[in-house]
Amino acid sequence: MLKEILKIIYSSGYFSNRDLAKQLNVTEEVIIDGINQLINMGYLKREAKKDMCPTSCTRCPYVQSCNKDIVETYQITEKGMSVI
């Protein structure tokens, strides 16, 4: 299943848990765990967004914009690419 997840998300450039669950005939929760497993094992990397503003920014009127959560992005690591 994990290999399949990697292959599907690599070929489409995006994913939704719902789509993956549908394609692999499992529940969305299983996909969420699968993605987390891939991250834990170093095949996939979730891009860090939080805490990127240094503390000196706290006075900046736009400080909250820095941590905007428009979309979660991931990167398939070199290890992940070798599996694909």
Binding site: M1, L2, K3, I9, Y10, G13, Y14, F15, S16, N17, R18, K22, N25, V26, T27, E29, V30, I32, D33, G34, N36, Q37, N40, M41, Y43, E47, A48, K49, M52, C53, C57, C60, P61, Y62, V63, Q64, S65, C66, K68, I70, V71, E72, T73, Y74, Q75, I76, K79, S82, V83
Partner: protein
């Protein structure tokens, strides 16, 4: 002999602790597992004159080395301290829970499965073949609703029975041949050695590369030779993905069990999200749809923010100005104070504040799009195009953030590992029309394009993006050659935006705008006002003032772009500390110049510009040198004065060239 021990293992939210409370009642105490901060809950179960110790292990999704909770649970289960393990499963989410079950079965421990929350599963019409599950796994399976106490007696009976039987299980998971071969190889290495865990299970974990198990093996007395043999195995197979194979084997097992024993109501084949996405992220329609949506956003912004609310804001500021003037005159205030208050503050800072309603509506609309999940689609749609220009889709997120303010837009490039991506993203972000540029556009639109405001605003935003893409391509082929990182986006389902999130997004931007107007813009306008009224010998707000001298010095530079007066040139100069100050300075200078006529800023602009020069002026504002805060951020992020100066100069040159081109070509075509 001490009490027999029962350990509870399960996923978070599986109702494990509820079952623990049901089994132990008030007989429990809480401590910590030795050496870690993980909570340890223990209690006593009394049944048929016997007392049992019940241990509630931390809630986990798997047993491995990825968290303290997992390590604590794994070490305890393997320690043989417990006589029986109760695996608590959330019945409504059984497929997910079965992964942990597969790991417990892999350990071969004495197990009882409790299918908890069966009432929830029933509500969702999930049917579980309890008998079939027990038969396939060979493990007792009990249905329960722990929070109602249902199934308590059956669980206790089955657990006591399991303790008496001391049953253990064979590992039911089927690994592929290659992995199996290596497991056997490791088993050979470990045979006869004193190891902290069962040998079969340890061999699997070694092949899987579990860091905790490898560490424990190194610390135990298995001998240097065995440690080296294991290290050699990992060195030799560093390119293999055995851990993925092992984990996948467990998933295959768990999924096959779920398929055989669980039935769920058929899901809707095509959801609303599917239907919308078929159009919104379509390869050909995605970007035109994005353009239409943005055009609608600008149209609504103009109608509500400018035409309806903008007039009210202008009226209020004008009224406030009149009141202050009267008040100051009534107390015989010096003329300079009246001039500063009215021309500097009211017509300068007030000219910026007037745009608060417009900014509010714009960010309300953008917040609505973000919270609905559409912006994630927009980022994906742009991703394909971005890649053609040597960028990655994540750069689009920085660009969207840059529409609020370029400072966080540039900061957001920090998350990019690839230096090339990071640098290009920072270098092009100043072309995004930030909130500070909106007052400048709007005042010119009101003067010359009142009926096509949305279209002009949209065109300016689009031009910024187009220039950014072209520059990205140029940088990609010259200064920062190399491959872009490949990113994958997770598209959340569409959802109805929450008022709280939309308002919060709006307030972040609007409060930032107001704070800047009251601090930076106030300071810049004050400095400009002082320069406009000194020396005392000069006519205030005239070309003879110090500011007039600066403007006159800059005027020849901007003449080819059609900006014929010193005020226009000096306003651009004032825009470098903060972009809003362009409007503030023009407001202040024109108010001073037309004091007797009492002309509004829009009328003054109409008198000093033409449609063509207003266009070239807006394009100049869009592209030229970013504000001081942005330059400071670029300096900090690139850690280079040279790059900062380069950005300040190249953007200026680009803005100037674009403005000159528009004016000269427009004049040639007879639009002058």
């Amino acid at each position: 002999m001490g009490n027999r021990k029962i350990a509870l293992v399960g996923n978070p939210n599986s109702g494990k602790t509820t079952l623990f409370n049901v089994l132990t009642g008030a007989n429990q105490h809480v401590g910590n597992w030795p050496g870690v901060t993980v909570e340890k809950k223990e209690g006593k179960l009394r049944y048929q004159k016997n007392e049992y110790d019940v241990i509630d292990l931390p809630g986990i999704y798997s047993l491995g080395a990825f968290s303290e909770d997992e390590i604590v649970a794994m070490d305890y289960v393997l320690s043989d301290d417990a006589d029986v393990i109760i695996n608590v499963i959330d019945s409504s989410n059984i497929e997910r829970n079965l992964y942990l079950t597969s790991q417990l079965l892999e350990m071969g421990k004495n197990l009882v499965i409790v299918l908890n929350m069966t009432d929830e599963a029933e509500k969702r019409n999930i049917k579980i073949d309890v008998f079939g599950l027990s038969k396939i796994l060979g493990v007792p399976v009990i249905s329960a609703v722990a929070h109602k106490g249902e199934g308590k007696n059956e669980i206790i009976k089955e657990v006591v029975n399991a303790i008496l039987k001391k049953k253990t299980y064979d590992n039911p998971i089927k690994y592929n041949k290659n992995v199996l071969h290596h497991i056997e190889h490791i088993e050979e290495i470990l045979k006869g050695k004193k190891i902290p865990y069962p040998i079969k299970w340890t061999s699997i974990k070694v092949v899987e590369g579990d860091s905790h198990v490898l560490k424990r093996l190194e610390e135990s007395k298995i001998g240097k030779e065995a440690v080296e043999a294991i290290k050699d195995f990992h060195r030799f197979h560093s390119k293999d993905s055995f851990e993925l194979e092992v984990v996948d084997s467990r998933y295959s097992f768990a999924n096959s069990i779920a398929e055989a024993t669980v039935s769920r109501p058929a899901k809707e084949v095509e959801t609303i999200t599917d239907k919308i996405d078929r159009i919104f992220i379509n390869k050909y329609l995605g970007i035109p749809i994005f353009a239409i949506i943005m055009l609608v956003v600008f149209q609504v912004t103009f109608v509500i923010g400018e035409e309806i609310l903008g007039g009210i804001a202008a009226f209020l500021i004008e009224g406030l100005g009149g009141l202050i003037e009267k008040l100051l005159m009534s107390v015989n205030s010096p003329e300079w104070l009246i001039s500063f208050s009215i021309n500097g503050i009211i017509n300068g800072v007030g000219a910026v504040i007037e745009f608060v309603p417009l900014i509010t509506v714009l960010y309300l609309m953008l917040g609505f799009l973000e919270d609905s999940g559409y912006m994630a689609r927009a980022a994906f749609v742009w991703d394909n195009l971005m890649r053609k220009f040597g960028l990655q889709g994540r750069a689009f997120i920085s660009m969207i953030i840059g529409f609020g303010c370029n400072v966080p837009g540039i900061m957001s490039a920090r998350t990019m590992d690839n230096k090339k991506d990071r640098m290009i993203t920072m270098f092009i972000n100043p072309f995004m029309s930030c909130g500070a540029k909106i007052p400048i556009y709007t005042v010119f639109i009101a003067a010359f394009f009142p009926n096509h405001g949305a279209l002009v605003l949209f065109s300016l935003y689009a031009l910024g993006v187009i220039v950014a893409l072209i520059m990205a391509k140029i940088f990609n082929n010259t200064l920062f050659k190399g491959e872009s990182s490949y990113f994958i986006m997770e598209l959340p389902p569409y959802r109805l935006p929450t008022i709280k999130n939309v308002l919060r997004n709006m307030w972040t931007n609007v409060s930032g705008f107001i704070v800047r107007a009251g601090t930076v813009i106030f300071a810049v306008v004050t400095v400009m006002w002082v320069l406009a009224v000194v020396p005392a010998s000069a006519e205030p707000y005239s070309q003879d003032s110090l500011l007039g001298a600066i403007g006159s010095f800059l005027m020849p530079l901007f003449k080819p772009a059609g900006f014929g007066t010193w005020q226009e040139s000096v306003a651009l100069f004032a825009g470098i500390p903060a972009k809003e100050a362009v409007v503030g300075t023009l407001g202040m200078l024109y108010a001073g110049e037309y004091m007797e006529e009492g002309k509004a800023l829009v009328d003054a602009i109409r008198e000093n510009f033409t449609q063509l020069t207003s266009l070239s002026y807006m394009v100049m504002v869009l592209l030229y040198t970013p504000c001081a805060a942005v330059l400071g951020t670029i300096g900090k992020e690139t850690k280079s004065i040279r790059w900062t100066v380069f950005i300040a100069l190249y953007t200026f040159a680009l803005g100037w060239a674009a403005a000159v081109t528009i004016y000269q070509v427009g004049s040639l075509l007879g639009f002058g």
